[in-house]
């Protein structure tokens, strides 16, 4: 056993650094959740205090559930996020497979073109996107959001997945070809299961900006029926008065679905890594 591994001081410093980072990262979330259970007065008087018998209040949650269609906003956010992730993973993986598997003219150029989107923020094209959506009558539909988010997520997905797909053994794909599997069967049944950890990584990277986005819902789908949760929470933020109880409660509620999705993907991610390690 190496000395470095057993040294308690070294391990202590590592844990200290990790612990400090965890505290910094979790603090805003913690503050949001704690304050969502307090009445308005104690939020401002003592924002760092845990809710006690005198300050405990569910008024924020009551407001959130009474005002507006919060369940509807949740469903909208979930629908948009899930459908977008699905499309990004499907099309991203297919493009990555084609780029890494087949030799054709302009292959490298095509790969470069597809990953160009990583460097150019999609928001620069907002005006053109809006004009397009108006022309096709897609304004105020969830389809508009799904289309935009799929386009936004694809470059990174193609980039990461094509790198991973290059590592899948050629022999395995060739064995499939000799056994009479179609190219689709090779893709779905041999290659995809092997790049699952990469798929999970891409899913996490894609999911969070979509769930948290305020820009496109505000511009493309601000109607009551298509509001997402981030846009729905804005109801409580006014120019002169902000209902902090309601805002904090809405945000606390909004954290959970994305946390659940993250946990699903991260378990895949860890499973993929460990199964690769012991081979």
């Amino acid at each position: 056993m190496s000395k470095a591994r057993t040294s308690p001081i070294r391990a202590g410093f590592v844990h200290l650094a990790l612990g400090a980072y965890t505290v910094i990262a979790i603090f805003p979330v913690f503050l949001t959740i704690v304050n969502s259970f307090k009445d308005r007065g104690s939020i401002f008087r003592s924002p760092l205090q845990l809710p006690g018998p005198s300050s405990f209040s569910l008024v924020g949650y009551e407001t959130v559930l009474k005002q507006g269609d919060f369940v509807g906003y949740f469903t909208n956010s979930l629908t948009v996020t899930c459908v977008s992730i699905f499309l990004v993973l499907l099309f991203g993986a297919m493009a990555a497979f084609a780029l890494s598997e087949y030799r054709f003219k302009g292959n490298a150029l095509m790969g470069l073109y597809l990953s160009l989107g990583i460097m150019i923020p999609i928001r620069l094209g907002t005006v053109a996107i809006l004009q397009g959506m108006v022309a096709t009558g897609l304004v105020n539909t969830l389809t508009a959001l799904v289309l935009v988010y799929t386009a936004q997520g694809l470059p990174l997905a193609v980039f990461i997945l094509s790198e991973f797909m290059r590592t899948v053994s050629d022999d395995l794909k060739n064995a499939g070809r000799i056994d009479g599997l179609s190219e689709y069967a090779i893709f779905f049944r041999l290659v995809l299961p092997l790049v699952r950890p990469a798929m999970a990584t891409v899913a996490v990277f894609t999911m969070i900006p979509i769930w948290n986005d305020l820009w496109f819902p505000l511009i493309l789908a601000p109607a009551e029926a298509t509001k997402t949760i981030t846009l729905g929470s804005q109801v409580f933020i006014g120019q002169f008065v902000t209902d902090w109880n309601a805002v904090l409660s809405a945000l606390s509620l909004a954290i959970f679905p994305v946390l659940v999705l993250y946990m699903i993907f991260s378990r895949q991610l860890i499973r993929g890594i460990t199964s690769g390690a012991v081979k």
Binding site: S169, D171, L172, N174, A175, G176, R177, I178, D179, G180, L181, R189, L190, P193, L194, K279
Partner: protein, 332 residues
């Protein structure tokens, strides 16, 4: 009609010509081995036969049918890969049966063939396991079983033993030889290991830089190499090549295998000093720096007590000398 006929197979990647016109006839039931150094095109040739790569020009006939445009699955071939290439998510049984299932074979027939192949390879206890639960040797047996159940016209092996350790390699080699006797199938086998080639093949095809150097039975290649390349490639340790002029011969190069030189303490044709001695138990390999012939390798059978710096005399067996002209071709 032969089981496989190749005519003028050429393959280019960009400007680089990997196969430079290969012509080959393989008879039914023959065990043919492609052997050559890395990058000589032997694996590419195998993939062209399998249909995993398209030849740039040329014709490939399997059992008399032209297959250049037929997809791999319909060529009546089966292939065993160096890295086993088992499907990680399927059990051993499903791994073996997948090809048949894809071809629409009846379930009972698949069962029968899988049972037969697994009995042949003693894989019965592992049928329900996944590849990750098997050892390297077992995995390679499954890969061979997957080839057997297809009952192909042609077996293709792509360096199947390279990933196994030495003991297992010998054992699996014996199994493949036994399999060839039992199935009487045509097999094509790629390797860079000349021992595998010599022990398994009915016919060896020596390739170098995308062209065939010589085709023949193992003993033909050993006894009558067609050129310097084959003479140097077949046999271990390598044949000694000596400039013809040094020995007073009119040919460009004279070759003599290490095992065809005898050694004596007191008299012989070439006087030399031992530079290095390797004791292998069954053999003793002596590297001699001689005045007449330069550095010569001598292989003696059994144990011999020669030490470095000893002065000894070497005598080549005149009947076993090979002579080559300036272009490297054997003179017969």
């Amino acid at each position: 009609m032969g089981a496989l006929q190749l005519q003028n197979i050429r393959k280019t990647f960009g400007a680089h010509e990997v196969l430079k016109g290969i012509d080959l006839d393989v008879k039914d039931g023959e065990f043919v081995i492609f052997v050559g150094p890395s990058g000589c095109g032997k694996s590419t040739l195998l993939r062209v036969i399998a249909g995993l790569e398209d030849a740039s020009t040329g014709s490939i006939r399997i059992d008399g049918d032209e297959v250049a445009t037929v997809p791999p699955a319909k060529r009546g071939i089966a292939m065993v890969f160096q890295s086993y290439a088992l499907y990680p998510h399927l059990t051993v049984k499903d791994n073996m049966g997948l090809g048949l299932k894809q071809a629409g074979t009846e379930k009972a027939e698949i069962e029968r063939r899988v049972a037969k192949a697994s009995a042949m390879l003693s894989l019965e206890p592992y049928l329900a396991r996944r590849p990750s639960e098997l050892s390297g040797g077992q995995r390679q047996r499954v890969a061979i079983g997957r080839a057997i159940v297809r009952e192909p016209k042609l077996f293709l092996f792509d360096e199947p033993l390279s990933n196994l350790d030495a003991a297992l390699r010998v054992q699996t080699r014996l199994e493949i030889a036994k399999l060839h006797r039992e199935l009487k199938a045509t097999m094509i086998y790629v390797t860079h290991d000349q021992v595998e080639a010599m022990t398994l093949a009915d016919k060896i095809v020596v390739l170098s830089a995308g062209a065939i150097e010589q085709v023949g039975s193992p003993m033909e290649l050993y006894n009558r190499p067609a050129n310097l390349f084959v003479a140097g490639f077949i046999g271990s340790p390598q044949m000694n090549f000596i400039e013809g002029g040094r020995l007073g011969e009119s040919v460009a190069t004279v070759g003599i295998r290490p095992e065809h030189i005898s050694l004596s303490r007191d008299s012989g044709e070439w006087k030399g000093k031992a530079v290095h001695v390797e004791h292998l138990g069954a053999d003793t390999i002596v590297y001699l720096e001689t005045e007449a012939a330069g550095l010569v390798t001598v292989r003696l059978f059994g144990e011999h007590h020669v030490n470095p710096d000893d002065i000894v005399y070497a005598t080549p067996d005149a009947t076993q000398m090979h002579r080559f002209d300036a272009a490297g071709k054997a003179i017969r």
